[in-house]
Chain length 349, copies 2
DNA sequence: CTGTTAGCGCTTTCAT
DNA sequence: ATGAAAGCGCTAACAG
């Protein structure tokens, strides 16, 4: 079972000896070749080749230089799930772009929701962190914060001393809510989970602290603002909380809403993915969109565009890039990213 | 611009001094707490808290222990694109799963296609590599191979001494080709790019060495096998080579094929994403699927399922997990993953 | 352009 | 249960 690729390490000192030069000449051959004569360089290269030296040991170099050239990415409890979420993937792509441009590697930390997550954050050989949005009570936030390394949290929660970057979710939800709830009498929301327990179910007009995911909380507040702007009672608005950002679950939850005593005539979802499920469920009951039920999504995805979904446009890719830049530049400011409402045929105006 | 999170490092020695114990007692407090008396442990913890010590420095620990607890992932020239590709994302999710379970971090290397890619591979502080399939002539393969660390290449090219894991693309293409080309007289293929230059265009019956991406090459060979099995001349089969795995480009290329003098009556694509574009282009000309044109995809994606696409099912997620396991276990074997043809309504039988 | 010295922060080894 | 010594492999700083 054991392969042959565990050979004893060759050191720079051995290469230098073989080449008949000092260790520093060998070292400079790799780190600053211009400072070494062409002849020495050639001898060092030849010796390295002969001995099978694969270049300076990265850990030793990191220890000496005091930096790793790695940016850490904390995906909260999502982990593998993040790769399934197109928005999270776009965010990672943005980080990857910046890392590639600056010669940094991108270290994704294995968060699982278990108690030892904090240890893993502490054990990460990285120069800074980008944290994908998580819940207020997520212990990895404290672990990141206790490191003396720059970190930026995407979309919250805000942590003292750490950067924060994202859109104004409340304002965006209010804006799109006004569009989707226009001319409606029984608005409803299909929501992301409220907290890390990811309990699903329908609640009525949840209060401003019902959700511990800041993104969910702020969007709910924005939808509430929109409802009130339009003279609608938030307290009677049904919010179908889904455990995951998932088309199938949104479809099932919408089916429930439509079977209720007060079937909604406008549904604001929190992603285009969810909204696609909402559309299916609405049409499955023979209702027309937007005449009978208006629907809005979030994220302006390719799929949503095809479905004619009114949505909130934002660039997770650019936000990922901006988070990475801020983390690598040790810039702990709060930054606000742009967004816009894209009205399409799924809403009444 | 500079934040306050660049404080001087606190060392274990300082913590030990503050706690009034030896450095080793402080060290054991972190690495093997059971070997330290409860009292010493408490004093060390208190001293660490007081001084703001965030735990042993990962680079120093890596240097001393000779391992990093990081698995490197090489995405070839794709990099950011990999996050857009659902199959690559699934593969990464599989790797992430294994890494999380074994307490490893997952380091994605910043490959850009530039000349310094090899340096970056060499500079990676990782214990092993998983390489996402690339072209025969990709220089990062040599860079990975020259490291004395275990590595597994997904789907090829095969590299001496490195592990190899993937499905038998040729056999799978032959099998699905027999289904989609059945009863056809003018089969065609919508293909991934042939080489790293990613030139697009239509070629006729390309030979078995036309492609330097092994996956593309093997699938083309399999489609050729299938054509010949059915008594069709491969030399007259049009292969529309796309630059990217992308719905829009496949749609455009298919449009070209259908406008030609010998419009195809069966089209085998290399992904469900491409096949979705093929379907749109076919239907845009008023043709029926499969009566006028049979279509097949590859990967058994959720979207493909909805479209009723005949396809090849494989689990990239499981393959990612298997690659990670093999790399971490230093197991350089060649392993073959399972696949199956899923016949659906987009083909004639 | 090249070499010497010192030490990055930690853990292995061996002793007590 | 605790500690002293040694050194992982490399490069910053300085001297020649």
């Amino acid at each position: 079972m054991d392969g042959s690729r565990a050979g004893r390490r060759v050191t720079l000192a051995e290469v230098a000896a073989e080449a008949g030069v000092s260790v520093m000449t060998a070292s400079y051959t790799y780190s600053r070749p211009a400072r070494v004569s062409a002849e020495s360089r050639a001898r060092v290269r030849a010796a390295a080749e002969l001995l099978g030296y694969a270049g300076p040991d990265p850990s030793a170099r990191s220890l000496r230089q005091g930096r790793t050239n790695c940016l850490g990415v904390v995906l909260g409890e999502h982990l593998t799930y993040a790769f399934d979420d197109p928005q999270a993937s776009a965010f990672l792509a943005g980080i990857a772009e910046v890392c590639a441009a600056r010669g940094y590697a991108m270290t994704i930390l294995p968060i699982t929701g278990a108690a030892d997550d904090a240890d893993r954050v502490r054990a990460a050989a990285v120069d800074g962190f980008v944290v994908w949005t998580t819940a207020d009570d997520d212990p990895v936030l404290a672990a990141v914060s206790s490191q003396r390394r720059p970190a930026v949290v995407h979309s919250g929660p805000a942590v003292d001393g750490l950067g924060l970057l994202g859109i104004d979710n409340r304002a965006a939800a209010r804006a799109v809510g006004r569009v989707v709830f226009a001319e409606a009498r029984r608005p409803a929301v299909v929501s992301f989970p409220l907290g890390r327990d990811r309990v699903s179910g329908v609640v009525k007009g949840p209060g401003p602290t019902a959700a511990s995911f800041p993104v969910t909380r702020q969007r709910l507040q924005g939808y509430r603002d929109a409802a009130r702007d339009l003279g609608l009672r938030w307290e009677s608005v049904s919010v179908a909380v889904c455990a995951r950002n998932d088309r199938a679950e949104a479809e099932a939850m919408t089916g429930q809403l439509l079977k209720g005593r007060w079937p909604p005539d406008a549904i604001a979802a929190m992603s285009d993915e969810q909204a696609a499920g909402v559309l299916r469920a609405v049409r499955a009951t023979g209702r027309q969109v937007p005449a009978d039920v208006a629907v809005s999504g979030w994220d302006d995805s390719v799929g949503g565009r095809r479905l004619g979904l009114t949505t909130v446009a934002q660039s997770l890719r650019e936000q990922g890039a901006a988070c990475a830049t801020a983390a690598l530049d040790n810039d702990p400011r709060q930054q606000t990213a742009p967004w816009s409402v894209v009205p399409r045929a799924s809403t009444r105006r």
